[in-house]
């Protein structure tokens, strides 16, 4: 992004209908948007579709965006509501949208080149994804937002429209649940 143009100015320009300015906002947040949608939909194609559609809705509603608010937390609420509608519509045709258990997390490269260690890491990765998937949607969402997307507690609170204290207790409970299911593997 051009250093001379602040995000606030881009948002103000977008409010006046400047598509180029909105384009810069999209480029600034597209990765976060995509990964947030991925965490919700569990599908790469749907994540792309939904995150782009949420930007279109955001553009249409940009005049209602309050100056001083964080764009992404506002965007996330649009995305989340869009996702809930998508899930409801999809449920009419598919019994469980989570049927698709494609593993959407991958290992971060490290210097280990021993096949047996590498194999164990891949196994652990698959187990972890399965266990994350088996959590209820509230716990899964908070684990992904914090542990895989590294949002601050305040950002998560704003996105989910809940107090920071609730974020902390949800995170504690979600981690406890996940840890209890993964106990056998993490203590190996």
């Amino acid at each position: 992004m051009n250093d001379n143009i602040s995000e606030q100015s881009l948002l103000e320009l977008s409010k006046k209908g400047d598509k180029e300015a909105f384009g810069m906002i999209v480029k600034l947040y597209m990765k976060r948007a995509y990964f947030s949608a991925l965490a919700l939909t569990h599908s790469e194609d749907d994540a792309l579709d939904l995150s782009q559609e949420a930007f279109v809705r955001a553009y249409r509603a940009i005049r209602s965006f309050k100056t001083g608010m964080k764009f992404f937390t506002w965007y996330y609420r649009i995305l989340k509501n869009l996702f809930l509608n998508w899930k409801r519509d999809r449920a009419k045709f598919v019994n469980d949208y989570n049927e698709k258990k494609e593993n959407l997390i991958e290992l971060i490269e490290d210097d280990t080149h021993q096949p047996e260690i590498e194999y164990a890491r891949i196994e652990l990765n698959n187990i972890l994804w399965n266990e994350i998937n088996s959590l209820d949607s509230q716990k899964r969402e908070i684990i992904i937002l914090k542990d895989f997307q590294d949002y601050s507690y305040q950002e998560i609170a704003d996105m989910l429209e809940i107090p920071v204290g609730t974020v902390m207790s949800r995170l504690y409970n979600a981690r406890k649940k996940l840890k209890d299911r993964m106990k056998v593997y993490i203590n190996e």
């Binding site: 480029k27 597209m30 995509y34 559609e53 955001a58 509501n81 997390i105 972890l128 992904i144």
Partner: protein, 150 residues
């Protein structure tokens, strides 16, 4: 225990995320001395965090992001196209209906009862259409999630 337990959980979350200040570390230590059953919980959650730290959400190919804005732009543009198309269509249909009714009324060969029937059908459609539009507009004004498709 309730307040302490709540605080202890908060501190465990922060400690797992390596976000505790030095004061909070001392507070955590003192609370763990008081409630040692949470020590194991903290250690296990730390281990769990170590595991998840070595993993990340899968990234799509770079081309996905290269054409991302273009995808959004096309959708915005098409949306505007549909709005303009709809406005044009409404104008044409309204004009067509007006002309049709005008011709109908001036047609002396057509039975009055048929004229009334046709005008009734048209008037009914117009009332239903206006009512639906008014309902949609009322919802948009009062709904905080108006940007979300229903």
């Amino acid at each position: 225990m309730n307040n302490n337990s709540e605080r202890l959980r908060e501190l465990i979350v922060k400690e797992v995320d390596e976000l505790t200040t030095s004061d909070e570390k001392l507070e955590l230590k003192s609370l763990l001395n008081k409630y040692p059953e949470f020590i194991q919980e903290l250690n296990e959650q730390k281990k769990m965090k170590e595991v998840s730290k070595k993993m990340k959400l899968k990234s799509p190919p770079q081309e996905v992001f290269d054409s991302y804005w273009m995808g959004v732009y096309n959708r915005i543009e098409r949306g505007i196209g549909w709005i303009i198309f709809s406005v044009g269509a409404v104008i044409l249909i309204t004009y067509g209906l007006f002309k049709f009714v005008e011709t109908l009324i001036s047609d002396s060969q057509l039975e009055t009862i048929v004229k009334i029937g046709i005008i009734g059908v048209i008037a009914g459609i117009v009332i239903i259409f206006v009512s639906v539009i008014r309902e949609k507009l009322t919802i948009r004004k009062t709904d905080k999630y108006k940007e979300v498709q229903r």
